[in-house]
């Protein structure tokens, strides 16, 4: 508690400086302002997210770190439009999610967001190809195009030979790759990953995160990854945001990437 109280002044300036660096060019992909998500459990109120303010620039790879119960997944759900804030606002690409109707939120999730989960969350009764094309069904894409794009996406993650397999017939790494293919199928601007390596061995985890980085760098997707493995975050994320008890503890550029980021900015 005390650390959260102390760290708040530290965290805020950090995000502030990031925004100040290039105010015009760095259009924020995500901007959360005094974001709160409280749950009521009987008499008690659980403050899962408690006044978090943060900003993620377009094309950035950000890691949300913290122990379990720190509120990192709750923030991710709020950004994903799966949940609504109790107070405050989340603005993604200019849209305040708090003001969107349920229908509009669904459309936002469909078009703008790709999600990857710790437990893969593929539908067990469907083949990989069917799982990957499912978002396109909701988008009303016709069958021929759907099949083509699903094949393309699965080829991209190296699963072209496993298209007609069911998730249970595949390894964890393969399932997560399929989940990645599904997340990318509607070409979203935002990839949200909730502990994507949590159920994988370190080698497979690295393989998955290499892919995520590839999408981040090649497709210019903004990535927000929730993880509790600091080492992984430091290896892949440009920025590390630490959370504890629903509050932002620190928000710092990853030193390993700082140099690269600055040189990029200078070139522009």
């Amino acid at each position: 508690m005390s650390s959260a109280g102390n760290s708040r002044p530290n965290g805020a300036p950090a995000s502030h400086t990031a925004a100040v660096l290039a105010p015009a060019m760095m259009a924020p992909a995500i901007r959360a302002e005094q974001l709160c998500r409280h749950y009521r459990m009987g008499e008690a109120v659980i403050r899962a997210v408690d006044g978090v303010t943060l900003e993620v620039r377009t094309g950035e790879f950000v890691a949300l770190l913290g122990s379990s119960g720190s509120g990192k997944s709750s923030i991710l759900n709020l950004i994903a439009g799966l949940d609504r804030p109790t107070a405050g606002s989340v603005v993604v690409h200019g849209r305040n999610l708090a003001n969107l109707s349920r229908e509009d939120l669904a459309r936002y999730r469909l078009r703008a967001v790709g999600m990857v989960f710790q437990s893969f969350n593929l539908i067990p009764s469907m083949t990989l190809a069917e799982n990957v094309e499912l978002p396109m069904r909701f988008a009303g894409v016709e069958r021929g195009r759907r099949n083509h794009l699903a094949r393309e996406a699965l080829t991209r993650v190296g699963l072209q030979t496993r298209m007609s397999h069911r998730p249970s017939e595949l390894s964890g790494g393969e399932q997560q790759r399929a989940a990645l293919a599904r997340a990318l199928i509607n070409r979203p601007q935002l990839l949200l990953a909730d502990e994507p390596t949590g159920n994988l061995d370190s080698h497979t985890g690295t393989e998955i995160l290499n892919m995520v980085r590839e999408f981040n760098q090649q497709l210019g997707m903004t990535v927000v990854m929730v993880t509790h493995e600091r080492a992984l975050a430091e290896r892949y994320a440009q920025r590390l945001i630490f959370l504890a008890d629903g509050k932002l503890v620190s928000d710092e550029a990853n030193p390993a990437f700082a140099a690269a980021g600055e040189t990029k900015e200078e070139r522009r």
Binding site: E103, A106, R109, L110, F117, N121, M126, R137, N186
Partner: protein
């Protein structure tokens, strides 16, 4: 989501938990089957009744009598129209006028008389009636042995089976079946009967001085005079009919039938001849009653009305048929309600299955929402699943109901056969019932899906995904 995608996903989901969904679908089928069974029994019974009654000629016949026939008078008719004494005579001209009314198929005089017939020199007294050619289609002649009259004027007769028994000197038997009628007919067909009857002849004008005198004052009187002569006619037996003597219709009381035109040409003395002697309009035959057959039962009322306007009494069984139809409507409603009860049980089954499916597929629903399914998509998916079970259950149910009907039909007919009754079809599944049952099952299933679909749509994806 597009409709084909929706249907495909729904069917896929149904196949995933085959056992539970099959059991639910069977539940729907049983419901639909009982509904179909009940309704088709109602419809079948109604059709059977109306088919029987229609063939009996009860529902498409109007019997016309003159108001002058005071024996047929009833109080209602007495109040309306001209007094009997001034009303019209039911003669040939009137018959033709009636026949030309719209929706009238034919109008024929009821000629009947009691007379003596000699067979092998033995006299037999019985009622003889004339039949128009159209009577062939009457169900009384369904089991006719031999044939119907070769022409409307042929000197031929059809016997009723009890008269045939009398001719052969056999004891009357109840419930004769076709083979026994055939046995009766065999020795009689082609044989001759001698009919002795009283013929009415127009009297020569100078027959009496009194007639002469009055004829001078009133020319109508002259033609009203007639004499009665005894005549004989040889008739060939061409058929023996299994006609039910207790049938509600008039001709049934007669046991010997003649072709109508032949009967007319005989000018047999009729009871009405005596009545009309004071007022007979010349040479035209006068009838005591005329039977009018209309095109369909629905026309009875209008035809009856127009005949009443002409100044005659009419009688039809229409009112009786109305209350019979009403009875069947009520029966249908009750049978429908009992049938629907089973469907109500199926309704609860669908709700249960889908609610269970939601619990089981919580995570799946959460995933679908996370990757962009809207509330509407989820709702429609559950609706589609309910609807698919409904349609499938409906189709199977109709087939099952039909099969039940066939079995019952078969069983009852076996029983009827043992009781020496002809087989009957009292089970009818018309096409509209098939369509209605499937549609009804579909709608009931959608209604059953309403609550589960709404619940699935409202499911919080965060909560749903948290479940492991």
């Amino acid at each position: 989501m597009k409709l084909p995608d929706l249907a495909e996903l729904a069917v896929r989901n149904l196949r995933e938990s085959v056992l539970r969904n099959s059991l639910t679908t069977i539940g729907i089928s049983v419901g639909v089957a009982s509904l179909v069974a009940m309704l088709s029994l109602g419809i079948g019974l109604q059709q059977l009744a109306s088919r029987r009654l229609m063939k009996s000629g009860l529902f498409d016949t109007v019997v016309v009598t003159s108001r002058r026939d005071l024996r047929n008078f009833n109080r209602d008719q007495e109040r309306s129209g001209p007094p009997p004494g001034e009303s019209r005579v039911l003669d040939e001209a009137t018959r033709q006028a009636i026949e030309h009314l719209p929706n009238v198929l034919e109008a024929y005089p009821d000629i009947r008389f009691i007379t003596e017939l000699r067979y092998e020199d033995k006299p037999h007294l019985t009622m003889v009636a004339a039949l128009p050619t159209s009577a062939q289609s009457n169900d009384a002649f369904e089991a006719l042995q031999g044939r119907f009259f070769s022409s409307d004027t042929a000197p031929e007769v059809v016997l009723q089976k009890t008269f045939a028994e009398e001719l052969l000197g056999r004891a009357p038997q109840a419930g004769l079946d076709e083979t026994k009628v055939a046995e009766l007919a065999a020795p009689l067909l082609g044989k001759e009967l001698m009919m002795r009857y009283a013929q009415r002849q127009s009297a020569p004008a100078e027959s009496s001085s009194a007639g002469k005198a009055s004829a001078a004052e009133d020319p109508g009187l002259a033609s009203a005079a007639y004499s009665v002569v005894s005549r004989e006619l040889k008739l060939k037996i061409v058929g023996v009919a299994d006609l039910d003597p207790e049938s509600m219709r008039g001709p049934a009381r007669a046991r010997v039938f003649l072709p109508l035109k032949l009967a007319e040409s005989l000018h047999v003395m009729q009871p009405s001849d005596l009545r009309e002697v004071s007022r007979a309009p010349g040479d035209q035959p006068v009838y005591s009653s005329v039977s009018v057959r209309v095109k369909k039962p629905g026309d009875v009322q209008t035809v009856e009305d127009s005949i009443k306007k002409m100044g005659f009494n009419t009688f039809s069984i229409l009112d009786a048929s109305r209350s019979i139809q009403q009875f069947f409507k009520v029966l249908d409603v009750f049978l429908g309600i009992f049938g629907s009860l089973a469907l109500a049980v199926a309704f609860i089954g669908i709700v249960n299955t889908l609610v269970m499916a939601i619990l089981e597929r919580r995570r799946e629903i959460g995933i679908m929402k996370a990757i962009g399914a809207s509330d509407g998509d989820v709702k429609r998916l559950f609706f589609a699943e309910a609807g698919a079970m409904g349609i499938l259950g409906g189709i199977v149910g109709v087939a099952l109901g039909w099969a039940i009907g066939q079995v019952i039909n078969l069983g009852t007919n076996m029983y009827l056969k043992r009781q020496s009754f002809p087989p009957e079809h009292f089970w009818s599944v018309p096409w509209w019932l098939v369509g209605f049952a499937i549609l009804f099952s579909f709608l009931v299933s959608l209604a059953a899906g309403l609550y589960p679909a709404g619940r699935a749509a409202r499911l919080d994806p965060v909560q749903a995904l948290r479940y492991e």
